[in-house]
């Protein structure tokens, strides 16, 4: 796996110095034009926007997934497997198909807005082609990656610790903050990383749920590969995105290693 991953990464890195011919075919080279083009302020704007959307998506997913995972792991009794299946099964359907579905359901004449308009919501209210629409799409698309690690962490949590906290006169909130949160922090961190990474590079949600002011870095990369037919420029953009993500990953891995070391001790 690593060989394939690293080899393709090197290929992307090498081709970011390449050029194209008239038919848009990519050639290896040693041109710095693609790297220099990244200085265009347009890329910075879009990169920052993607970062903001991905952070927001991770935060919303955490807020939604935490109580869901908690309820399933600790309070669902024999329905546990059925409930987990209800979370996971919709994600067996292709992400693209689900997003197309959402964009139709949430369109102006779709069932959701038709109902809201009838209930008195002003006609100027839209969901599709808005920033919240894009984030909603990302949240729906990746929420399962938050639920599963959190669920795993909660299921493995020693519930007797919660009882012990209560026995020691800890209130529900204090027990939650002092016992449950630390015990599930690893799961939450893993969930945040699992949601943040694909959300940052996503282009489907912005394409189907976004408007002119919502495009993400993934859309610009996709445009270079499929529209502009300029793979070297797309590779240079990909490397830029990778660099940003690697900084985040490095922070996470350091944190995880520290926790692991503490756990061993």
């Amino acid at each position: 796996m690593s060989v394939f991953f690293i080899a393709s990464l090197l290929l992307v890195a090498a081709l970011s110095f390449g050029t194209t011919n008239d038919l848009g075919n990519a050639y290896f080279g040693h041109s710095l034009a693609n790297i220099e083009a990244l200085a265009d302020p347009a890329y910075r704007t879009v990169l920052l926007r993607s970062l903001a959307y991905a952070v927001l998506t991770s935060a919303i997913c955490l807020v939604i997934a935490y109580p869901v995972s908690y309820a399933i792991a600790l309070h669902s009794g024999r329905y546990k497997n059925a409930l987990i299946a209800m979370v996971v099964v919709p994600f067996f359907a292709n992400y693209l198909v689900r997003m197309y579905g959402w964009s139709t359901i949430l369109s102006d004449q779709g069932p959701v807005l038709s109902l809201l308009y009838r209930l008195g919501v002003p006609r100027s209210f839209h969901i599709v082609n808005t920033g919240p629409g894009v984030v909603a799409g990302l949240v729906y698309g990746f929420a399962v990656f938050m639920v599963l690690p959190l669920y795993a962490a909660m299921e493995r949590m020693d519930t007797s610790l919660i009882e012990a906290g209560r026995d020691l006169y800890g209130g529900p909130l204090r027990t939650f903050l002092k016992v449950t949160v630390p015990a599930t922090r690893q799961g939450a961190l893993a969930g945040i990383v699992l949601v943040f990474l694909p959300a940052m590079g996503d282009f489907v949600s912005a394409q189907l749920m976004g408007g002119p002011n919502q495009i993400m870095i993934g859309n610009l990369i996709q445009e270079q590969f499929y529209g502009g037919q300029n793979w070297p420029q797309g590779d240079a953009l990909t490397m830029l995105l990778m660099a940003v993500l690697l900084i985040g990953m490095a922070g996470y891995l350091r944190r995880a290693r520290k926790d692991e070391a503490e756990a061993v001790r």
């Binding site: 991953f5 393709s8 990464l9 992307v12 194209t20 011919n21 008239d22 038919l23 848009g24 075919n25 083009a37 890329y43 704007t45 879009v46 994600f91 292709n94 992400y95 369109s107 102006d108 004449q109 779709g110 839209h126 599709v128 399962v144 990656f145 599963l148 690690p149 795993a152 962490a153 690893q186 799961g187 893993a190 990383v193 699992l194 990474l197 694909p198 940052m200 590079g201 489907v204 394409q207 976004g210 408007g211 002119p212 002011n213 495009i215 993934g218 610009l220 499929y226 529209g227 502009g228 300029n230 793979w231 797309g234 590779d235 990909t238 995105l241 990778m242 690697l246 995880a256 692991e260």
Partner: protein, 391 residues
């Protein structure tokens, strides 16, 4: 019907991580894996420099006879299936169909080493392909219905993209204009300025297409359909930015946006508008206008790749497709007009409520087309488009 939407290619979600004895490392590995997911898929295709077009042109002329099955490569649903089946039946050959979803992916598949007998490139791609020595020269005199095209549509005797139509036969024609909801906006003025209609603020769309958006701007500034000067590009970008607050999105799905009510006003392709009126519950609420500043026109062509295995069958196929009855059936099915004499009336009836969909001799003669610039010019246009998209 053919859709001009750029389909996003999605990566399937990674399998959900399961808890195990060493959960932390497993989660870390999964996280690293999803980092990989964010990489846009990239498979570098080695490509040998193609022979000069002259070498291909010097080959002996193609025959027009069955020499194997027809390997057919086109947009999905861009032909009446009964016409395709009819060819198979009449000549006793199998039609092996595959589809592309953009010109770029068509080229990528050809360059990856796949061979096709008949392809349907648009005008600018036809030019790139024949200049790269990737298209056979066609013996047009063999086509029994060739006169219906070339004797009646002078434009195609010597189109800009392929002198003498030496390597291509025109298949369909279309133009770009404005599609709108008459019940919401009433009548428009016949100008690209209609995109600024105040009532449609928040319900106006431009196509998500570099050439179309830049063409929309340059035509208004009187710079033709394909401007490349830096100063012109700056002015074009400002013009689009001026419209931006009124726009809901850049989206090439003009057909769905009009039908599902998201769009009251959209830059639109004439062929998609035909589909709108065919699908709409009440076609009378939709309008289409070609702007007086100019409407870009485009052509999709039949072409036979230089490495086709069965070019004789492909020639027969073109000949068969040009028969009047097949032209009529295809027009009714896909909704695009074809430059074949005798088919005009049928198309006019199809778009009786949207007369501007008809591509006239005058539209063709105006020659407002998206050509191929030099690499530097194309790069400047790309940068302009990126800036427009980024906002």
């Amino acid at each position: 019907m053919r859709r001009r939407t750029r389909s996003p290619l999605s990566s399937p979600p990674p399998p959900p991580p399961r808890s195990g004895p060493d959960r932390r490392s497993l989660l870390r590995a999964a996280a690293a894996g999803s980092l990989g997911l964010t990489l846009t898929g990239c498979a570098y295709i080695p490509h040998a420099e193609s022979d000069a077009a002259a070498a291909v042109d010097a080959e002996p002329p193609l025959p027009m006879e069955v020499d194997g099955p027809l390997v057919y490569f086109n947009w999905a649903d861009y032909i009446d299936p009964t016409v395709k089946a009819g060819f198979s039946e009449e000549y006793g050959v199998e039609v092996i169909e595959s589809n592309f979803d953009s010109m770029e992916s068509m080229i990528a598949k050809m360059d990856a080493g796949n061979t096709y007998d008949i392809i349907f490139p648009s005008a600018k791609w036809t030019q790139l392909l024949w200049q790269g020595g990737q298209l056979h020269k066609l013996p047009l005199h063999l086509l029994r219905n060739g006169d219906a095209v070339f004797a009646h549509y002078g434009y195609f005797d010597n189109p800009w993209y392929d002198p003498g139509s030496a390597h291509s036969v025109p298949f369909t024609m279309y133009k770009t204009g404005i599609g709108w909801r008459k019940d919401k906006l009433g009548e428009l003025t016949g100008s690209w300025r209609d995109m600024w209609d105040g009532t449609a603020t928040g319900r106006a769309f431009l196509l998500d297409d570099r050439d179309e958006v830049l063409g929309f701007a340059s035509l208004q500034l009187g710079c033709g359909a394909y401007a490349v000067g830096h100063e012109q590009l700056d002015r074009m970008a400002s013009l689009v930015q001026n419209l931006r607050p009124r726009l809901r999105a850049f989206d090439s799905d003009d057909y769905d946006n009009l039908l599902n009510g998201d769009a009251w006003l959209t830059q639109a392709w004439s062929g998609d508008m035909t589909s709108v009126v065919q699908q709409a519950k009440d076609p009378s609420v939709y309008g289409f206008e070609a702007a007086k500043e100019g409407a870009p026109v485009n052509t999709d062509c039949y072409a036979i790749p230089a490495n086709a295995q069965h070019p004789g069958t492909a020639m027969l196929f073109i000949d068969y497709m040009l028969r009047p009855e097949n032209v009529a059936r295809n027009i009714a099915y896909i909704g695009y007009p074809m430059p074949v004499h005798g088919s005009e009336h049928g198309y006019e009836q199809l778009v009786s409520t949207l007369p501007d969909c008809v591509v006239t001799e005058q539209d063709l003669a105006a020659n407002l087309v998206f050509t191929n610039g030099t690499p530097a010019q194309e790069a400047a246009r790309d940068a302009c488009w990126t800036n427009i998209q980024a906002g």
